[in-house]
């Protein structure tokens, strides 16, 4: 298909074709997310609920406005943010298997959550998992604190480490250390708390309330806008740090901003949705396969749109009638993600070339 398209389109038209295709797909999936679920709500009723028409069924209005809309918005923000983070990390580390979690930020968030969930039960005598809304908020705060801690550590190290590869190793090691601590905590914890932690680890787009959206939305939007300002350094970094330096880019500053941007996106999204697996790794590969370019001017908007589409699609599947919200989001993203990663490995060529 790509070849046939390339015959008819010039490079620019080719890009516009896929971008508009992704926009249409995302909008369709967004509407599907509002329409389908355990109760199917007709399209016009959804529209009426959205525009604030009070004539429609009250429970439908509540479902659309209180449950499905924030969930779809969360999916959009998470998908876009994680995909951009993944793209930035793959370019920065020139490694096709890098993702937004490569810096150890998700592990940091996991550690924070584990401390709160597993320790709170021990010390306070009440399991946070029973606290409902307050519980969610403290989990989000703990995740954010953990993620920020690791992010600060990575940022500090990035100023002192010359080599991106070193940074990659540090990120992975931090991840291992955090997992080990979580393991110890789990070992000494009560069953329900461990269960609550496991549930958090499976990820979810449905725990974000409108008030939490007030944090998630602006932070992710800022991160996404910032990523557009990093187009130039990202493009040059494809050639490696020395070439980038020779082309007049201030490596340390650019690296700091790239990590900060990805870190902020990942930390916030992980805090609210849990560690969403594979999206950040798989979406950039899908996008590069579609757009056939290495130019981040095209890749960043493309990855955002593709991330939105994939996240909305995963959310739709997780909520399919029958699963009834029972399917954790990570199970779905991994089911989409794993074949993509295998495809990347089988394509072989991409693994040998550092830039991807």
């Amino acid at each position: 298909m790509q070849k046939r398209l390339a015959q008819h389109f010039s490079g620019r038209q080719f890009t516009i074709f896929w971008l508009s295709g992704l926009i249409i797909l995302s909008i369709t999936l967004f509407l599907f997310n509002l329409i389908f679920g355990s109760v199917n709500i007709p399209f016009w009723s959804v529209v009426k609920a959205l525009v604030g028409d009070l004539e429609i069924n009250d429970s439908w209005r509540l479902i659309v406005l209180k449950s499905r809309l924030p969930q779809a918005l969360t999916a959009i923000l998470a998908g876009a943010g994680l995909a951009v983070g993944g793209l930035q990390m793959q370019t920065l580390f020139r490694n096709p298997l890098a993702g937004p979690s490569i810096l150890g930020i998700s592990s940091g968030a996991g550690l924070g959550v584990a401390l709160v969930l597993l320790f709170a039960g021990k010390i306070g005598g009440i399991a946070l998992s029973h606290l409902g809304w307050t519980g969610h908020l403290s989990v989000a705060l703990a995740a954010f604190a953990g993620a920020t801690l690791v992010l600060t550590l990575v940022l500090f190290l990035s100023r002192h480490l010359k080599d991106n590869a070193m940074l990659l190793i540090v990120g992975i090691m931090v991840g291992y250390a955090a997992s080990a601590l979580v393991g110890i905590l789990k070992f000494y914890s009560m069953k329900e708390d461990v269960h609550a932690y496991v549930i958090w680890g499976l990820g979810s787009f449905s725990t974000v309330s409108w008030s939490q959206m007030g944090v998630l939305f602006p932070v992710v939007t800022i991160g996404l806008i910032a990523s557009f300002f990093l187009v130039k350094p990202l493009n040059v970094m494809l050639l490696g740090e020395q070439y980038a330096g020779n082309l007049g880019i201030n490596i340390k500053v650019s690296r700091l901003f790239i990590i900060l941007c990805t870190g902020l996106l990942t930390a916030t999204i992980t805090a609210f949705c849990g560690p969403i697996a594979f999206l950040g790794l798989a979406v950039p590969h899908l996008t590069k396969g579609l757009f056939r370019t290495s130019d981040h001017k095209v890749l960043i908007p493309a990855v955002i749109l593709a991330g939105i589409a994939v996240a909305l699609f995963s959310n739709l599947i997780a909520r399919l009638p029958g699963f009834d919200g029972a399917l954790p989001i990570n199970a779905v993203t991994s089911m989409i993600g794993a074949p993509v990663v295998i495809w990347v490995i089988l394509k072989g060529k991409n693994l040998r070339t550092p830039g991807v």
């Binding site: 490696g240 020779n246 490596i251 590069k288 370019t293 040998r352």
Partner: protein, 346 residues
């Protein structure tokens, strides 16, 4: 292009090497004083591990110097920011660049980075310059080709085009011919020499291709471990025996006449070779490989007469006076071996 009154590269008392916070400094070379002017094509030669790359990386500011001073276009290198440096010197490194989905045009246009705005968008002038540079390195028509699908030689040309669009007075290349086959090496060296002379750029590269460097370089910088660096016109360095001193080791000889390395052979046997022209030259080479030194004197041993007019023929006369007509050098060598063996058994 702006004229630079000062030399593009000038070092005084420069010491290069590596410094390690705990293990201290490891000085590879010290007291280096070199100069490179615009329009000059210079090659750094030296055995592996002699510090060629270290010197180049120090001169482009990628590695800190240990001592002394480096001036690029008259300015002290430490005071130049990445941005200022990007307008003075462009580099092509040994590392093989391969980025999937990147076309030649994309790659070369990255060379415009120091001139483009915040988002790196190319203006018409930039696009024209990229196209022109791609043409200048002989990659016309390859603009939309993916760099992962090109030969090493073509990719190297694309990297040179990238250095050209950067519009710097100085271009530094670290072993640009390393992965290439012989024709591509000659092509690249020729291209660089042409660019240096036509566009009045200072071009400095490191290479292992001694004979190419001898033929094409305006200046040669010789580096070897534990020796003071020598610079000069290649011919001068040959005549003062510098090449000999730098490269000869046991079993390997540098021939000052031909400017080539030869493998030392014990030439104890002599043979008389009669003939002329290119055939004569190649027959003597083949015989030299078998350990025969050519001589014009008539003597009682073997004699080869090379007939080069019309049909190519080799007449081999043994000590017993019998003459054999042979069609190829290979046959000649086989026959010679055979007769030598029979001579010994007798």
């Amino acid at each position: 292009m702006e004229e630079y009154k000062n030399a593009l590269i000038e070092t005084t008392g420069l010491a290069i090497g590596y410094s390690h916070p705990r293990h201290g400094k490891k000085v590879l070379h010290s007291n280096i004083g070199v100069k490179l002017d615009s329009g000059e094509f210079a090659c750094i030669l030296g055995p592996n591990g002699s510090g060629k790359s270290t010197l180049l990386l120090t001169l482009c500011g990628f590695l800190p110097k240990l001592n002394g001073e480096v001036r690029i276009a008259g300015q002290v290198i430490e005071k130049l920011s990445n941005r200022e440096m990007s307008l003075l010197a462009s580099v092509v490194l040994t590392e093989r660049v391969s980025v999937s989905n990147m076309t030649v045009f994309d790659l070369v246009s990255l060379g415009r980075t120091p001139y483009t705005g915040f988002f790196g968008r190319l203006k018409n002038k930039d696009t024209d310059m990229v196209t022109e540079s791609i043409k200048a390195v002989g990659l016309e028509g390859f603009e939309e080709r993916l760099i992962t699908q090109m030969s090493d030689g073509e990719r190297q040309k694309a990297m040179i085009a990238k250095a050209l669009v950067q519009e710097t007075p100085l271009i530094v290349l670290d072993e640009p011919t390393a992965f290439l086959d012989l024709p591509s090496r000659i092509e690249i060296m020729h291209l660089l020499r042409k660019l240096a002379h036509q566009r009045n750029k200072g071009i400095l590269l490191s290479t292992h291709d001694l004979d190419l460097a001898l033929q094409m370089a305006d200046k040669v910088w010789l580096l070897a471990e534990g020796r003071q660096m020598e610079t000069g016109t290649p011919e001068d360095l040959v005549l003062t025996n510098e090449f000999r001193h730098f490269f000869e080791r046991e079993g390997i000889l540098f021939d000052n006449n031909t400017g080539q390395f030869t493998v030392e052979k014990q030439k104890v046997k002599t043979i008389r070779i009669i003939g002329k022209g290119v055939e004569y030259k190649w027959v003597s080479r083949a015989l030299a490989r078998r350990g025969f030194a050519a001589s014009d004197e008539p003597f009682s041993g073997f004699q080869v007469e090379v007939k080069s007019d019309g049909k190519r023929e080799y007449l081999l006369t043994g000590p017993n006076g019998k003459t054999q007509k042979l069609r190829t050098i290979e046959d000649l060598l086989t026959q010679l071996d055979y007769e030598e063996a029979t001579l010994l058994t007798e």
